[in-house]
Symmetry: C2
Subunit: 231 residues, 2 copies
DNA sequence: TTAAATTATTATGTATGACATATGCAAATG
DNA sequence: CATTTGCATATGTCATACATAATAATTTAA
């Protein structure tokens, strides 16, 4: 029995000419198999070929420039460029504009990633980055001021991402930070665990040093459990 | 000692007026704390306030429309809308344009997520979705044609994401699919494990049914290990 | 003849003015 | 009072002109 899927259906909205031009251009770029650095037709040629004004073409091209798919220099014309897959996400990562459900899902995604990262961390940990991690923990243990604790908490987890050496994951995490920040500050998410079950950064560090990935995951899960219960 | 971070530095590029207008507008939207549905000033007002032509304003606004941050209706003016954090990523997920290093990182991210997902799967599995998963496995076991096997492989892993009930993670995975597809087809990524160590979808299913998250992670890791070694 | 300086050409960037169109409001009409 | 009509308004689209920077072509000078 075919399973019905409605997620790919987008709500009907009025399509302006620029929207259509944009879609046409995207299809064109893909179909023509452009490579990085390849020149694309000039604005007037596109306008004539599609039967619209240069203005409409330019508004559409402006969008592609935002996405980093094309670049233009005076007189040299426009060329295809390598887009950055995460470059524009930060623009829409405004907790003010996101709904609660999405924020929860984003938060859950963070948990999934930090738990799933364990194997890679054990694969790529070095004395150098373990030492950096230790320094953060030490600074954390020397203070009890809330803002500093928050700061070191962020530093600790960021350092874990850094140890993974995966720039894409790192950048993804940085993008999501405003959401975590908002959830921590505005929504006053607080630990619901008795203190005896709390796993500190020090514990995580020690497990990463001398333990196993399985152990690390289990501790990390507990470390993040107060959130986990919520979502 | 302050750690130097160069990732936030973007390469210098020539900023057009439209780029500057875009940045100004973004800052303006954030600073004024606009809520969903709030109207924004009309084009002419913005143009006059910023001392540029309506054309420049419109090109910048066109970008925000692409991002889903604003929406406009004739005469009613423009309003702030709820952006979709993943809506535009598919446009830049063109394996043709991505570099190998990024694709590898994206692939690694998939592995991280699928391993990290284990706890949530055990939390949210139901008889209904386990049955769906079983049907996929059964269909897979009945064929030995390559294209069908690929299809069921995708279906199996997609179903896991579905069981997680996290729409954001699901959509993220769908976005990344072109990259996986490309890596499988074009790069001819093949298993490097002896057959005896291979973990089938059937095994994963059984563990999900009767095993533990830890066990599932370990099996999933092995299931994906041929990739894991590579990255 | 060759190198430097000048000029012309070209394609993108910006500005302006005009008109189309749909929407909401107000006025007019029955 | 309900319906219709007309008007004002803000966005959508187009055409045109000019600015600007990079390249090509041409001229000038040693």
């Amino acid at each position: 029995m075919k399973q019905l899927n409605l997620t790919t259906l987008t709500p009907i909205k009025y399509l302006t000419q620029v929207d259509k031009v944009e879609m046409s251009l995207e299809a064109y770029f893909r179909s023509e198999n452009f490579q990085i650095g390849d020149p694309i037709p000039k604005e007037m040629e596109l306008a004539e070929a599609m039967g619209v004004s240069r203005t409409a073409i330019r508004e559409a091209l402006s969008r592609f420039r935002l996405l980093g798919i094309i670049e233009s220099r005076k007189n040299r014309g426009m060329i295809i460029t390598r887009p950055d897959i995460l470059n524009n996400m930060h623009r829409v990562m405004d907790p003010q504009l996101l709904d609660g459900a999405t924020m929860k899902e984003i938060f859950e995604m963070r948990l999934v990633i930090e738990i799933g990262l364990a194997d890679i961390l054990f694969l790529r940990k070095t004395n150098a980055n373990l030492k950096k991690l230790e320094q953060i923990v030490e600074k954390e243990e020397k203070t009890d001021k809330k803002p500093e604790l928050v700061k070191y908490d962020i530093e600790f987890h960021s350092m874990l991402y850094e140890i993974s050496e995966n720039k894409t994951i790192q950048r993804f995490q940085k993008l999501l930070m405003p959401v975590f920040d908002y959830m921590n500050n505005e929504l006053h998410v607080k630990s619901q665990l008795p203190d005896t079950e709390y796993v500190s950064h020090r514990v995580l560090l020690n497990v990463l040093k001398n333990g196993t990935p399985e152990e690390f995951r289990s501790k990390m899960k507990r470390h993040l459990l107060n959130y986990f219960e919520k979502v």
